[in-house]
Amino acid sequence: MNTGTPLVEMNNMSIAFGGVQAVDDVSVNLYPGEVVGLLGHNGAGKSTLIKILSGAYKADSGEIKVNGTPVTINSPRDARANNIETIYQTLALADNLDAASNLFLGREITNAFGMVNDDAMEAETRKIMARLNPNFKKFGSPVSALSGGQRQSVAIARAVYFNAKILIMDEPTAALGVHETQMVAELIEELKKQGIGIFLISHDIQDVFKLCDRVSVMKNGQLVGTERVEDVTEDDVLGMIILGKQPQRAA
């Protein structure tokens, strides 16, 4: 079992949009070196919950703790300051800029005169890409000219480069082929070993069973339950997602 202080605790989070309770009194946590899968139907509130943590939305109520210390996250900048990095489902790339500009967007390397140092940023981008995706060669092109897998690796590189402690991955393999999905799986294993905690949002139960240590299931904005993957079967989890019912414990 996990002991000690969780990397992240989200306690009793709630947020409503125009009368719709998108997230209703949900509590989840994440330990170092652990992958927690967030499962649920479309509209179950998992993306909304995670966007509170990444600073895209501001919660109506609830408390976020990082390493046991309460923190205030009002903007993506606050999240980044707490070493929380996010890979969004839409990838959130500026299509007209090249890989290096996207990787460093909002955190540019500047020279002594405060000018953006493109060459230094490209050199750093080449270094991290050599590790994540050695086939990546299109450093001079805008990311609109890249394939889906290449775009994904830019988004992943951006999250990994800045020494994330907490990584949020929203459907990281949804747009990928078999080979690239394998690549992401290997990357997640490697990051786990480094003690990084990962929230993984996914539709794919098999993916989740393969990659995650625990699953938290949401339905209609509420948390159905959190289970360790070795304690439950896929059918149990499906029951939680579809019917919102707790798995039957074997005596």
């Binding site: 993506p76 500026a94 299509d95 007209n96 967007l105």
Partner: protein, 433 residues
């Protein structure tokens, strides 16, 4: 990578073959196309006017007529790149011009005494404050109140034009302060020697920049262009800059005017003395603004955020960029540039007239768009907008010189705008941008 090309799946670092000849220069093909279009226009008008269109005198006039619109077009690039539009620039120019005209002809002479040497500088500073404040205010309405820029600036088009009218009671205000008038062009040329010095400084700067960029790339181990191509580029830059200075110097001051200039200094015009006008101060101002705006666009965080926001506003926000404040800054820059254009435009006429800057919003937007700024946002260059302004002005002046009737002039300019955007759409589709 399952979705990428064969060269990458092969796993070998397939370096692209070194381009040969013209392609080795690595020039932006859009830019080459625009320069070609400009030359076609110039040569065509020269043919129709027995060469009068390409005399030093006409090129000189063409440059000083382009400056006001070109200055505003550099700001419009930022506005359009962030997916906004500014329809109020002509009116903003008018209100800045009116404020500055009233200041320098009525209020400041009362305060400081007629002919005080501080009048021009206080006037310009106040004009800049007015333009920047109005721009920032409009940007605040767009960014924070989320009123569409089209509506805010359409309102501004009417409001500021008529604020200017009210301030001056619709009268023409002049003559303006003599020092202030230097910024207009013909009254403020730099003479042959200074022009050559500036030309040489610009040439050295351009070549130093090329060399520095090559060194930086090589030090990181990035691929660089072949040395021959870099030298070729350097020769093209140096040649263009120096040829431009040479043409402006070749436009000589008429003998009568020269006589008056010497008389004013209490001297007699030496026999057979010929002096060229040289680089107009307003054109130097445009060059400085073009350099500053290009540096802002390419080398500052502000510029990077402007382009990122235009490319994907959501991504920019998720990267921690304050896009609302960015909107205020972009419109404030636009306002400041309108004020500078107001100095140039009113100084060129040596007075403020009630209709100054009328329809400039259309010229400025057309210049930016012809210069390759995409209305969908995220794409645009400063030099493109300036070239766009020069193409528009060349068409307008050329047709006037050939003797095309005024209505046909406007019909042609309007059609060229639509045609240029269509060609641009086809180009982008082919280039896969």
């Amino acid at each position: 990578m399952s979705q990428s090309g064969t060269a990458e799946t092969a796993g070998t670092p397939a370096a692209p073959p070194q381009p040969k000849g013209f392609a080795a220069l690595g020039l932006d093909m859009r830019l080459v196309g625009m320069i070609a279009a400009l030359f076609v226009i110039w040569i065509a008008f020269a043919a129709f006017t027995d060469g009068r269109f390409l005399t030093p005198r006409n090129i000189f006039n063409l440059t000083i007529q382009t400056v006001s619109v070109a200055i505003m077009a550099t700001g419009m690039v930022f506005v359009i790149v962030t997916r906004h539009i500014d329809l109020s620039v002509g009116s903003l120019l008018a209100v800045c011009s009116a404020a500055m005209a009233m200041l320098q002809t009525q209020f400041l002479p009362d305060l400081l005494g007629l002919g005080s040497p501080f009048i021009w500088i206080i006037t310009i500073i106040c004009g800049l404050i007015v333009g920047t404040a109005i721009g920032a205010f409009q940007g605040w309405m767009v960014g924070y109140l989320t009123i569409p820029a089209f509506i805010v600036t359409l309102g501004g088009l009417l409001v500021w034009r008529n604020v200017a009218w009210y301030m001056t009671s619709g009268q023409t205000i002049g003559p303006l302060d003599p020092t202030f008038s230097i910024f207009g062009g013909i009254n403020g040329t730099l003479g042959e020697t200074v022009s050559w010095i500036i030309g040489i400084v610009l040439t050295i700067g351009a070549i130093a920049l090329l060399a520095q960029s090559r060194r930086a790339k090589a030090s990181h181990g990035f691929p660089v262009k072949p040395m021959g191509a870099e030298i070729g580029l350097g020769v093209i830059f140096a040649g263009s800059i120096l040829a431009f200075i040479w043409v402006l110097n070749a436009y000589t001051i008429p003998e009568r005017r020269l006589e008056r200039m010497f008389e004013a200094r209490g001297e007699v015009l030496p026999e057979g003395l010929v002096m060229g006008y040289g680089l107009p101060g307003s054109v130097l101002l445009l060059i400085v603004i073009a350099i500053v705006m290009t540096v802002v666009a390419r080398r500052t965080r502000l510029g990077r955020y402007i382009f990122a926001t235009g490319g994907n506003p959501d991504a920019a926000e998720l990267s921690g960029i304050d896009t609302r404040m960015l909107t205020v800054k972009v419109f404030a820059i636009m306002g400041a540039l309108c004020a500078i254009s107001a100095v140039v435009a009113s100084a060129r006429l040596t007075n403020h007239s009630n209709d100054i800057g009328t329809l400039d919003e259309l010229r400025v937007i057309a210049a930016a768009v012809i210069g390759g700024t995409a209305l969908a946002g995220g794409i645009g260059t400063i030099y493109g907008a300036i070239l766009g302004a020069l193409i528009m002005q060349s068409l307008q002046s050329g047709m006037a010189m050939v003797g095309v009737d005024a209505p046909f002039q406007n019909i042609v300019v309007g059609s060229v705008l639509v045609l240029a955007v269509w060609v641009d759409i086809i180009y982008r589709r082919r280039a896969g941008l």
